[in-house]
Amino acid sequence: MQIVILVLFEVLVVIGVSRLVGLAFRSIKQPLVIGEIVAGIMLGPSLLGLVAPDVSASLFPPETLPILNVLSQVGLIFFMFLIGLELNPKYLKGQLEVAILTSHVSILVPFSLGTLLAVGLYPVVSTAGVSFTAFALFLGAAMSITAFPVLARIITENNLQGTRLGTLALTCAAVDDATAWCLLAVAIAVAKSGNVTGAFPTIIEAVLYIGFMLTVGRWFLQRLATYYRRTGRLSQLMMAGIYMGVVASALITELIGIHLIFGAFLLGAAMPKNAGLVRDLAQKTEDFVLIFLLPVFFAFSGLRTQIGLINRPELWLMCLAVLGVAISGKYFGTYVAARVGGIKNREASALGWLMNTRGLTELIVLNIGLELKVISPLLFTMLVIMALVTTFMTSPLLEWTYPKRLIKLDMVTPAEEDETATDTTPTYRILVPVANPSTQKGLLQLAVAIALNHKYPALVHPLSLIELEEDYVFSNTPMEADRLIDVRRHQLEELIQSLEPPEARSYIRPIIRVSPNVARETAEIATLDQADLILVGWHRPAFSSNRLGGRVGQILSTAPVDVAVFIDRGALRLETLLVAYSANIHDDLAIEMALRLLVNHTNCRLRILHVVKEPQSKHELSYEFSSVMEQLPVTVRDRIEIEVVEAAEPIQFVIAASEHVDLTIAGTSRAWGIERQTLGRYTDELAIQCRSSLLITRRYSKVTSHLASILNESKIADEVSE
C-alpha cells in the first residue's frame, strides 16, 4: 500500500509540474509537449537530483520505478494508437511524387550521416555487449525521425494547412513517419538478435502481421464502422472491444520481437477513417492518456536523462556534433530533395526546417534504445537534448524563412480575402472579432453602419478565431481544424445574410483562422490587414465581472490600432446618438465615430455633451474638434447639437442623458470612469450604468483619421447640392 500511495503522489507532482512548464512554453509560442518533456527532465537527476538529492530520492525511490514504467508503457501504447488513428490517407493527396522523394531522401541523408557518426561514437560511448550494426542502425534511425504529431500541430497553429507548403509538409511527414517506424522495427529486431541475418525471421513475421492487419483486420474494423454509422454512437461495449484490440495487437508485436508500440499504432492506422468514428474514439481516449499517462512517460524518461553525465568539454563537443549531424542531415536532405523535385527555394527551406522537428517521436525511439541497452545513458541524454533543441528551433525558423505575410499569397484553397469583387481598394476597414455569431448581430450591424458609405468602398471583416488550447488534442489536427473552420464559416454566412441593408453584404468578408492566442492574433491580423478600427463586442469574462476584462481587455491593451468596444443593449435603430466629450484624445475618436455614422446615415441626429468641471473652459472645444466640425457639410452640421455642461458628476449626467438615445459613444477617459489602470485593466463604470447601448472608443494612433475617407466625398456632394 505504501508504494501505491507514493506512486500516486508522484503522479500528482508529475501532472502538476508538466502542466505548469507546458504553459510556460506555450507562452513563448512553443508546443506544449516540449514543456512536458522538459518538466520530466527537471524532475529527474538533471535538475531535482542535482539541487535537492534528498527530495529526489524520497520522491522517486527505486521501488516505485517499475510501477511508473507500467503506467508509462500503457500511456505510450494508447498514445501510439491515437497517432495511428490520426494518420489519414487523405493527407497523401496531391504532390505524391515530390512528397515520397523528399521524405525518403530526408530519411536517407540523416541515416547515412548517423551511420558515419556511429563509427566515431561506437568506440567511445558504447560497450562491447552491443553490436556495431545495432548501434549504427539505432543512431541512424534516431537521426532520421520527424515527429508527425508535433509537425501537424505547428502547421495547424500557423494556419498553414490550406497552403501548398503545409500540405506538402504533412504528406512528407506522414510518409517519413511510416518509413521511420519500419526502420525502427528493423533496428529493434537487429538489436535483439545481434545481426541482420538473425533479424530476418522477426522482420518477416512483422511484415506478415502488418499484412494481416491491413487486410483481415481492416475488414473487421469496417464492420465496426458500419455498425457505428447505423447506431450513431460509440457504445462502451465497442470501446471495450477496441481497447482490447489495442492491447492484444501490442502484445502480438512484442511477441514477434518488435516493440509494443507498433501493434497499437497499427491498429490505429488500420481503423477505417470514418470521420465521426475516429473523432469520437479520439475524444474519448485522448484526455486521460494525454493528461494523466503521457506525462508519466515523460517523467520516467526524464528520470533516465542525466545531464550531469556530460561533465567534460569533449562530451559537450560530442553533443554538439550529434546536434549538428541531426540538423544538417535533415535540413539539407529535405532541401536538396525538394529542389530536385521542383519546389521553390523559400518553400524548400521552410520544408527543411519543418521536417527537422523531432519532438515526442524521437523520445519514444530513444527510450526503446535505452531499454534494449543499445544506447547508454550518456548517449541517451545527448540525443534527448538534440530532440528538444531541434523541436524548439522549428517555430522561430519557420517564421524567419516563411513569414506569415507570405502565406496569404500561397493559398491552395480560394483566399478568404479575395478582393476581385470590388474594383477599387477599400478606403476603410473594420475588423470585428466575432466570438459567437448567433448573438452578435447587433455588433456586425453597427460595424456595417460605421463603415459603409454608399459612395466609398469599405470592408468589414468579421474575424472568427478558433482557439487552440491544448496540444495533441484531436481537434488540433489539420483535418479537424479545417472542419471547424467550415462550421464557423457557415455560421458567419448565415449571420451576414440576415443583415440589412442587402447591398452591404458584399462588403463583408469573413476571416476565419485557427490561433493559439486570440488577442495576439487579432492584433497581428489588424496590423497585417491595415485595419482602421477593431470593433469588438463585450462579454463577461470568466473570472471577474469587469466588462472590459478578459479578452476584450487584452485587445484594448495590446492592439496597435484604434479600438471600439460595443456594449449592446438591444437597440434596433441608430437614429439618436450621444457623445460624451471631455477634451481627451479618446473622446475625439468617439466624435469621429459619431460623425461617420452621421455622414453615412441621413436620418441620424447627434448630441454632443461637452462636460466640464470649471467654468472658464466652458466654451473651449479642442482645436481638432473645431477644425473637423468646420469641414463638415451643412447637411451634417445641421443634425448636430453641441451642449456644454458644467457638472460635478459628469458620469451621472451622461447616464441620465443616455436614457433617451439609441447609442452613447464615449472614450476611455477618467471622466467616464473608464480608464486604463496599471496592469492594463480597464474600469467600466459608465459601461455598467449606461442606459442605452454604449460604444467605448480607445484611440491608438494620433494620425489615423476615420473621417478622411468620407469627408472629401461629402464636401463634393455638398458643393454639388449648393
Binding site: S58, L96, T115, A136, V340, E371, S376
Partner: protein, 167 residues
C-alpha cells in the same frame, strides 16, 4: 493512385537508396571488424583493501561505477546489505582505456571511517587494471596517507532494485 515519376526524380531516388544501402553495408562491415568498444563494467565492486587505514573500525567499501563507454563516473560508498535509500551522487570521474581504469575525485571522510566527520572530504585517486572474471586490481591514493593502498575489487551481482532502475 500510382504516381507518375519523372525519370530524373526516379534516377535520383533509386540512386540514393542504392548508395545508402551500400554505404551501410560497407560501414557495418568495417565497424564489426575494426571497431571495438570498451568492455562493459559491472556497476558495483566490493573493495578489499590490502592494508588498513588509520582507523579503529574501517567501513567495508563499495565502488559504484556508471559507465558510458570509455567515460566513467563513480562513487565510493559504505557497503551495506540493502541498497541505501539515497543513491550516491557520483563524485569520482575518470576513463577506461585498454582495460586500465582510472578514477579520481573527492570522497567524504566518514565513508572510510565512521568516526570521522561527514563534512570534510579526502581526494582519492584510483588506478586499477581490469582482470578477468570481473575483478579489479589496483591501488588507491588518499590524501593524508603517504603510500598508495593496494586493493582488489570483486564484482557484485546487481540487486533487484538496481535491475528495476536500469529499466
Amino acid at each position: 493512385m500510382i504516381p507518375k515519376f519523372r525519370s530524373k526524380s526516379l534516377a535520383f531516388y533509386g540512386g540514393s537508396i542504392i548508395f545508402v544501402l551500400l554505404l551501410f553495408k560497407v560501414v557495418t562491415a568495417y565497424g564489426e571488424t575494426s571497431l571495438h568498444a570498451p568492455p562493459a563494467l559491472i556497476s558495483q565492486y566490493r573493495l578489499n583493501l590490502d592494508q588498513n587505514l588509520n582507523c579503529s573500525q574501517p567501513n567495508p567499501l563499495m565502488l559504484n561505477i556508471q559507465q558510458s563507454g570509455i567515460y566513467l563516473n563513480g562513487s565510493l560508498s559504505v557497503a551495506m546489505t540493502e541498497t541505501p535509500k539515497i543513491p550516491e551522487k557520483p563524485t569520482l570521474s575518470g576513463m577506461l582505456a585498454n582495460r586500465q581504469l582510472s578514477l579520481s575525485g573527492k570522497v567524504r571522510k566518514n565513508v572510510f571511517c565512521p568516526s570521522a566527520s561527514a563534512n570534510s572530504q579526502d581526494s582519492v585517486n584510483i588506478q586499477s587494471q581490469l582482470e578477468g572474471a570481473g575483478t579489479l586490481q589496483g591501488e588507491m591514493t588518499i590524501t593524508g596517507i603517504p603510500t598508495p593502498l593496494k586493493f582488489t575489487a570483486v564484482a557484485q551481482k546487481p540487486s533487484v532494485a538496481d535491475k528495476a532502475k536500469s529499466h
